[in-house]
């Protein structure tokens, strides 16, 4: 399985004819995991000069934010922002989570993937 499959699954959830709020939340959550795994793969390919420690998500964000390359730093900020939206989707049940909230996370995930593709092209 590839990281992108998470995003494909997220997009499919929004294509369903009958939506439930749980679909929006799942879509946002899946879209985050696509970003998380893609960022991890990027770091495996271009490791940071100072490896960080801690829980996987925090560690990945920290390594990106602390990276010597500013484009990685931007990715870290983006991933952190998406993690925050994923938290809303998975934990804040009392707060309404809408179709637009899910679309926003998916659009943002595509933007992050594009930023990673640009970095990889530039590094080739």
């Amino acid at each position: 399985m590839e990281a992108i499959d998470f995003l494909v699954a997220a997009e499919e959830l929004l294509k369903k004819t009958a939506h439930r709020e749980v679909d929006y939340r799942n879509a946002a959550s899946r879209a985050y995991y696509c970003q998380f795994h893609t960022c991890q793969q990027l770091l495996e390919r271009y490791p940071p000069s100072e490896p960080q420690y801690g829980a996987e998500h925090e560690k990945t964000i920290k390594e990106l934010v602390n990276h010597q390359d500013k484009r990685f730093k931007t990715l870290g900020n983006m991933l952190n922002s998406s993690k925050n939206q994923r938290h809303r989707a998975d934990y804040k049940l009392a707060e309404k989570f809408t179709l637009r909230d899910a679309q926003r996370v998916i659009h943002f995930a595509n933007k992050l993937l594009q930023a990673i593709a640009d970095i990889q092209t530039a590094k080739r």
């Binding site: 730093k73 931007t74 952190n80 926003r104």
Partner: protein
Amino acid sequence: MPKLATKSNQLLQELSQLLHSTRNIDQFTLKRLQKEAQSLLKSEALNAHLFLGALAGLQGERSSVHENYKQALTLAPTNPNNAIVLNNYITSLLDIGSFSEAVEPVIKAYDYKLPISEIVTTILAKAGLFHRAAELIRQDHLVVAADSFIFRTERFMDQHGVSDAELQKLIEIAISVLHAHQFFDFRFTKIITEFAEEEDSQWFRYVIKINGSVEDIVDMEYELACQLAEDDLSTELLLNFITAYEFAEEQYGSD
């Protein structure tokens, strides 16, 4: 506002309606009112500057907001007029999301002993100045409904070695991205400050609820991420303090 002549009165009425209107304000009306306010500059300078300051706020013209209210303050150096000017000055700055810039006039108004302790601490918090808000509460023994949140944020900032100035800068960057996208109208914008907790981690959220499209929000969020990477902000700040744009609740019904 000070006692007004008839023309001022009409202008005041129109302006009040605009300030409380939830509809988009048309530029033609704004320009007409601006022209009318300018015509009062010689005969009623104080009122004219108050009107021009408020109109500048509605147009998102920050420098003109400062210019007119500062002029009004020099024309009304004593109480109660200066308190009225300060009150309007603060309102105009808050209406365009210039929370940091509202701090100075707010403290000045507080020094005039206006009964605004809750407002002061709320504005300081919106600007990211939690240490200063906590200090005020302790020093003046203020009774403020949000004090426990202010103290909690102060402790959280200390834990991560984050100063008021750093958090203020982060918030200012988030607001500047909105301004760059022509989002100037904060009259009905909800700002939420809260903590998010998940397993062993915890972070501070500063949420700005706006009326915008999915594309608007995604573009601004991306620009914010780029801008934060450009500025020299600490990792502790970036990891533990998150500013986010979210959809205003009014739009939830449209799904």
